[in-house]
């Protein structure tokens, strides 16, 4: 498709804003947009260290789904999915949002139990979910190898038909253009180097382009959140890891749904232009290097080939990694911090892209009203003290 002839201004930063959002990725852009649109707060700057949406937003495999296990997660991801369903029209930008269905494969009996449990919970939460047996999986995705004779046969799958993919850059640029049009300043190449905190309240950020006063500062920096929080004296239960993905050369259409397998660590879709987009599991070690270890890719391709034998001679043209920040329960952290006026939205791990609209919506509401949005309440920092974790490892440890 042809992108718009105009997307955004490239303004210089003003000396003060009502709200400064640190991080110009999908979540930061969506937050700025909803601050302006839903709450009329337009004296807002996004400070982006590099280029807009150049972090995980540019590196993810664009899968969108809401079929999470726990009520709290399902609620926020489903809120997001509902926003996705109207987003192209709202932003007047073709986001190539394609509700082509996502299969989460089960390869062993515990997978089957977990899948059925999740599907049943989703249905109770008003989220579309189906359990397919192996034959139904084969019908839905004919090129998938469902033979019982492979090492880890497909025993069934959950299917969320409303789930699918979108084009990540379009999403970012759609939000950026809309936020820019509403008066938000998108400042690129502007690194936050510190915070000014007075009497326990944040008053300004120090940046590579000078001091910028702020009524409220909202972090939306994904994998770099710990580094920023550290500058504000806050320690967070987050660890940053590489998450690798890759694309193939362009192919005529061959796969019209999304296939994910937590057990064998792979997920696959075919993008609109024709390339296969595949993701791997998280590298175990902490890293900010935006690259992972080669063996992870090798394992992932072995697993992919077991599922899709016809991909054998398809060639991989590019591999890369994002930096995902992961909390101990694989769920996000959204809300206020011990520093007054400083908010955090982090820990989305592998789930950040799909959450973009919902996260932005909820975060903007939290910032505007100086209290956690109801959907964000369960995702407070406090849960690690009380022990009320929202453990999505079963559903999201590898799956995305």
């Amino acid at each position: 498709m042809r992108h718009p002839d105009f997307l955004w201004r490239n303004p210089s930063p003003k000396s003060a804003y009502d709200v400064v959002i640190v991080g110009g990725g999908g979540h930061g852009l969506a937050t700025a947009y909803y601050l302006a649109r839903n709450h009329g707060i337009t004296n807002v700057a996004i400070l982006e260290k590099g280029w807009l949406a150049g972090g995980n937003m540019a590196r993810n495999t664009t899968i969108i789904r809401s079929n999470y296990l726990w009520d709290e997660s399902a609620a926020i991801y489903e809120h997001s999915l509902k926003l996705w369903e109207g987003l192209s029209a709202e932003l007047d930008y073709d986001l190539m949002f394609s509700q082509r269905g996502v299969l989460n494969l089960a390869h062993n009996l515990p997978d089957v139990r977990e899948g059925r449990r999740r599907a049943s919970a989703n249905q109770q939460n008003g989220i579309d979910a189906e359990w397919l047996d192996a034959d139904e999986v084969k019908k839905f995705c004919p090129i998938l190898n469902t033979s019982p004779h492979v090492r880890y046969p497909v025993l069934g799958a959950t299917l969320q038909r409303r789930a699918g993919i979108a084009k990540h850059d379009h999403v970012a640029w759609g939000y950026a253009r809309a936020a820019d049009a509403l008066g938000v300043d998108l400042i690129q190449g502007c690194e936050v180097t510190g915070f000014e905190i007075d009497g326990g309240r944040v008053t300004a950020v120090r940046t590579s382009q000078g001091r910028i006063a702020a009524g409220t500062v909202a972090l939306a920096a994904a994998g770099h959140t710990s580094v920023l929080a550290d500058k504000a004296g806050i320690r967070l239960p987050l660890q940053s890891h590489p998450l690798q993905a890759l694309v193939s050369e362009l192919l005529d259409p061959v796969l019209d749904c999304v296939v994910m397998s937590g057990a064998v660590h792979v997920y696959v879709s075919q993008a609109h232009k024709g390339e296969l987009v595949m993701g791997a599991g998280i590298d175990a070690y902490n890293s900010y290097g935006q690259r992972g270890s080669f063996n992870v890719i090798e394992r992932q391709m072995g697993a992919a080939l077991e599922l899709f034998p016809i991909f054998s001679r398809v060639r991989v043209v590019r591999t890369w990694a994002g930096i995902v920040d992961v909390a101990p329960d694989a769920s996000p952290i959204i809300g206020p911090t011990p520093v007054e006026g400083l908010y955090i939205n982090a820990g989305w791990g592998t789930g950040g892209f799909k959450a973009t609209p919902g996260s932005g919506w909820v975060y903007a509401d939290t910032i505007a009203n100086q209290r956690a949005h109801p959907l964000a309440e369960p995702f407070s920092l406090d849960r690690f003290t009380t022990g009320a974790l929202i453990d999505e490892h079963g559903a999201a440890a590898v799956a995305h």
């Binding site: 201004r9 280029w51 139990r113 394992r299 060639r315 991989v316 043209v317 003290t385 022990g387 490892h393």
Partner: protein, 1040 residues
């Protein structure tokens, strides 16, 4: 019609090769690429562009090619410039996309291998060759890689003379001196990773008409290098002007190489358009080959080509220069040279923009790496050779040859010419200067944004010829220095590599190890249906002829409840724990007490992670005052051993405790049922063993361990014998009347007793208290791992989900949610039909709830009734059987006299695999092995850890834990390097050396016992996997 020159080039005119392109029969010569053969056959249009459908032809000479995309045989998309011609090749042109056949099954073989070296040289052109030569003569272990079938790099396509002789004579002389250097041709380095790890693809049989099926088609090499010398050359770049994509427009260096190397004229009348000197040599060579040079347009003299014009077929017919059209069928373009910095950048090296040569060049290395020659921006063969010698480390021994090539002046910076529309910066993705301009107008300033807006650089060529051009066009439009614009990130792979190659041999049964017990062959013979539990294959149930799963499970359950049944319980993790402080240690690890356990007694225990959630469970027995045997769940055995080591080594090193895994050593048969006592006493087990006790017993003449423990509530015994006797014991137990049962029946029986299964009743959010196991959580101990978390507010909530029992009129789906008027309150964790109760029942985790409750799944809503989670024999009346019928033992009336090794089934296959003079595998007979933690036990023990030994003498018998395979022959090492990442160079891994490492995906001890002989010690449960892996590897040598 042919454009083949009568003489010259490096093709073999005595070997004519037939091929087809788009169904048309053609011929070429040995030594051609598909591209050179197509040009020789005057095929100008190879395919169409992906978005605009414009005709496209051959543009480059090698892996930088953006245009000439072809399908060859079963390969959906290749570049014609990288396909070596072979007899019978069938190719067709593509429109930018590959196509997959739904029924395609790839029968080609792909594999991997691992090597180490002191110096890895990437690129066998003049600089790389010189570097390899110099490095080898300094005594280093050197590996040299080159993408082409023969060394020489750019010299293959030049007419340059060194020291008055053809440059290839210098190459031949240098190659002849490469003593001890491992040279890999047809090998492209694709990835440069951390810690000097370079991955390369070797195309082993792709160039052959008859490809031997047993030889891997491609091999993915993994090199770990002390230092890396990059000599990857440079890519010529194009200039963006309208119609610069037409067939007939070609890089000047490519046109030159086609005439010199392949003796093919890429056109008959050429215009040369350049801003660099190198194109003049191209003009000379084209002219010498009989190509008419209409004109040479040198932008440095103020002339440019402003557009092309096409003939009826869309191919080049002429170019516009200063407003006039010059007819030509070849336009040789040179926009300067870009050092091939891809691998350097992948290694995290930093680039800088060189204003002299108008290109990005290596600046700061991030690893032990050095770039030499054209890839660091050096011009001229002699200078490249000089850099190579210097980098190699013994420059003083070599003389720099004198070249007859003209000295080249720096190029001018010329990125565009003429209008923006149809002036392509990226040929593969159809991106024009106008597109770049539009992206900048939209507000984009970053090269990464422009890439994404326009798709420039995202094709299969990853913009090798276009990337820097995009930067140049951006810099021109923004009025910025290209160095300030920067480049997009270079990512692996340097050239596309197939998914099959990345997978290698880890396909099918080798995709993940299959672990089996000593009794597996019996289970298979008996028709068991298996369940994957982690890597293990466990019998799920044992159907009789025509029996359904439900019927089989009911029958198996009934046998266990009313008679006697047996299960293979060998997969449970077993850890032998020794030391003065084991009791104290276990008190801290488990939630309950172990220090007070009597010798000979067994106790069920739960362990939690620090967050208080159940991590694992099992029965642990005190074998002796300072020795315990811990059992773990099947899936968690390795994780628990890691866990124990972690706590011991990192928190409590002062405790005297050590761990030996004996999971594979002991084969375990659970004998269950009211009539089990008769059976086990007939084998020699004392029938009066109290519940939860342990005895060492001689069974059939073999030292065995018997535990009177029960996971079913029935009278039950777990008989343990060393691996080699497991199968015979199993067969004997069945012969004496036990009905075999699988994991499903085991699950039903334990659920009837309300025993939870970790991973089924738990999901990482469940505490022991939630499971109703407060009885197993000590109140007396000051601490255990997880205790503090049990006092957190959330763990103390009254409304936590707890384990409950359910009755319903029909069997529920496991995973079904439980719903009341208040909404979801829990879910069904286990659900079965009970033979004992003659009704369906279930276990669930649920909050306390009031009012009617339903289980819901799919479209079903089934009312449920909450009941106790103990469904069967809640008073434990049956677990001791009937005291009046305790018979005495019949010790000695049978013999376990047929030890069976884990590789028993492979003896015949090993005998015929490989070849005598090359490589052979065979099993080493059973040997006594014992593990010791502490001082060297002597008798030639191998030291496995700081205080960890294995040998014929020592503390813990592990003779069954490992099985030994011997690999012998001059190619044994070549087999091992396909799956072992260690440096097995004989100079490093001497005779007698041994290591613990990975072979394939199995953990092994690898010992070099002689010059060409290795012993591989593998866990017995992995032995079948390793045998299959070896047999697969030996296939390559079975035909020699």
């Amino acid at each position: 019609m042919t454009q083949r020159l009568p003489i010259g080039g490096r093709v073999d005119r005595t070997r004519t090769l037939r091929f087809t392109f788009d169904g048309v029969a053609m011929t070429g010569y040995q030594g051609d690429t598909l591209a050179s053969a197509l040009l020789a056959n005057e095929v100008r249009i190879v395919g169409r562009s992906v978005d605009l459908g414009r005709p496209r032809g051959v543009f480059g000479i090698g892996s930088e090619e953006p245009n000439a995309l072809v399908r060859v045989g079963d390969d959906p998309m290749l570049t014609a410039t990288t396909v070596e011609l072979y007899d019978g090749l069938a190719a067709s042109g593509l429109a930018g996309k590959g196509r997959l056949d739904p029924g395609f099954a790839d029968d080609a073989r792909y594999d991997k291998a691992y090597l180490h070296c002191d110096v890895l040289v990437v690129g066998g052109g003049p600089a790389g060759l010189a570097a390899a030569l110099a490095a080898s003569e300094s005594g280093a272990r050197v590996i040299l890689l080159d993408e082409q079938p023969e060394l020489g790099g750019s010299l293959l396509g030049a007419r340059e003379r060194l020291d008055g002789r053809p440059a290839m004579d210098w190459v031949a002389a240098a190659e002849a001196r490469l003593s001890g250097v491992q040279v890999f041709t047809r090998t492209t380095a694709v990835g440069y990773y951390d810690h000097n790890y370079v991955v390369a693809v070797e195309r082993r049989t792709d160039h052959l008409a008859d490809r031997p099926a047993h030889i891997s088609r491609q091999r993915l090499w993994h090199f770990r290098a002390g230092r890396v010398i990059l000599a990857t050359g440079a890519h010529e770049r194009s200039i963006a002007f309208p119609g610069n994509d037409r067939p007939g427009v070609m890089l000047a260096s490519a046109a030159r190489a086609y005439v010199n190397r392949y003796a093919v004229r890429p056109g008959t009348r050429a215009v040369v358009f350049t801003c660099a000197d190198s194109a003049f040599a191209a003009g000379d060579d084209l002219r010498a080959a009989g190509v008419e040079i209409a004109t040479i347009v040198d932008a440095r003299r103020g002339e440019t080509v402003t557009r092309t014009v096409a003939g009826p077929d869309g191919a080049l017919a002429g170019v516009e220069i200063g407003g006039r059209i010059v007819e030509c069928d070849l336009l040789a373009v040179c926009g300067g040279w870009n050092p091939t910095v891809h691998l350097f950048s992948q290694s995290q090296g930093r680039l800088r923009y060189d204003q002299n040569i108008h290109a990005f060049v290596p600046h700061l290395s991030a690893q032990a790496e050095q770039s030499v020659g054209a890839c660091r921006g050096t011009y001229g063969t002699a200078a490249c050779i000089e850099e190579g010698y210097a980098a190699g480390g013994s420059a003083g021994n070599f003389r720099i040859p004198v070249s007859d090539a003209r000295h080249e002046q720096p190029p001018a910076a010329l990125w565009t010419s003429g209008a923006q529309e149809e002036a392509f910066v990226d040929l593969q993705r159809d991106v024009t200067v106008a597109d770049v301009a539009r992206s900048i107008g939209a507000g984009m300033r970053s090269v990464e944004h422009v890439k994404r807006y326009t798709t420039a650089g995202t094709g299969a060529d990853q913009g090798k010829t276009s990337g820097p051009g995009t930067v140049g066009v951006m810099s021109a439009l923004l009025g910025a220095d290209p160095g300030a614009v920067g480049t997009t990130t270079y990512r692996p792979p340097y050239v596309p590599i197939s998914i099959a190659l990345l997978a290698g041999r880890e396909r099918g049964i080798l995709s993940d190890p299959i672990r089996v017990t000593s009794m597996h062959a019996s289970h298979v013979a008996r028709g068991a249906v298996f369940e994957d539990v982690g890597q293990w294959k466990r019998p799920w149930y044992f159907p009789l002829d025509g029996e359904s799963m439900d019927d089989a499970v009911l029958r198996e359950c009934a046998a266990a409840r009313t008679a006697v049944a047996a299960m293979d319980a060998s997969t449970l993790g077993k850890i032998d724990i020794r030391g003065a402080d084991v009791g104290v240690f276990l008190d801290r690890i488990y939630t309950n007490m172990y220090s007070t356990l009597a010798v000979g007694a067994c106790r069920y225990g739960v362990m939690c992670t620090a967050d208080g959630m159940v991590f694992d469970d099992g029965v642990t027995t005190r074998l002796a005052e300072e020795r315990y045997l811990m059992t773990t769940t099947t899936g968690n055995a390795a994780a628990v051993l890691d866990w124990l080591e972690e706590w011991h080594q990192t928190e409590w090193p002062e405790l005297d405790v050590s761990f030996v895994s004996v999971t594979d050593h002991w084969a375990t048969v659970a004998v269950v049922g009211p009539r089990s006592r008769e059976l086990v006493t007939s084998l020699g087990v004392p029938g009066d063993m109290p519940f939860m006790t342990y005895r060492e017993v001689g069974l059939g003449g073999v030292a065995a361990r018997v535990y009177r423990i029960s996971f079913s509530g029935e009278l039950a015994w777990e008989l343990n014998v060393p691996w080699a006797y497991g199968r015979t014991l199993w067969e004997t137990v069945l012969e004496r009347g036990a009905v075999p049962y699988g994991t499903e029946t085991m699950h039903v029986l334990r659920a009837e007793k309300g025993f939870p299964i970790v991973g089924q009743e738990t999901d990482g959010t469940v505490t022991p208290q939630d499971l109703g196991m407060s009885w197993a959580v000590s109140k007396r101990k000051p601490d255990y791992v997880g205790k503090r978390s049990h006092a957190r507010p959330d763990a103390m909530r009254a409304d936590r989900k707890r384990l409950i029992g359910l009755f319903s009129a029909e069997r529920l789906a496991e995973g079904a949610q439980l719903v009341t008027a208040a909404g979801m309150v829990g879910h069904v964790t286990s659900s079965y039909h009970s033979a004992a109760l003659d009704r369906p029942f279930a276990l669930a985790l649920s909050r306390d709830a009031h009012g009617p409750m339903e289980a819901v799944w799919d479209t079903r809503r089934v009312p449920v009734e909450i009941v106790s989670s103990v469904f069967y024999d809640p008073e434990n009346l049956v677990r001791d059987g009937s005291p009046s019928t305790w018979p005495v033992s019949h010790e000695g009336d049978w013999l376990l006299d047929r030890p069976v090794s884990a590789l028993d089934a492979y003896r015949d296959r090993f005998a015929v695999a490989g070849a005598d003079a090359v490589v052979r595998a065979r099993e080493i007979p059973l040997a006594i092995m014992r593990e010791t933690h502490g001082a060297d036990p002597g008798e030639d023990a191998m030291r496995l850890g700081p205080e960890w030994w294995i040998g014929p003498a020592g503390d813990v018998d592990v003779s069954g834990q490992r099985t030994i395979v011997e690999l012998t022959g001059p190619r044994a090492r070549d087999v091992l390097i396909t799956g072992c990442a260690l440096d097995l160079d004989p100079r490093v891994f001497g005779v007698g050396a041994y290591v613990q490492t990975m072979l394939g995906r199995a953990q092994v001890i690898l010992r070099r016992v002689d010059d060409d002989a290795y012993h591989v010690y593998v866990r017995s449960s992995f032995a079948g996997y390793l045998a299959e892996w070896l047999l697969d590897a030996l296939a390559e040598w079975s035909h020699t």
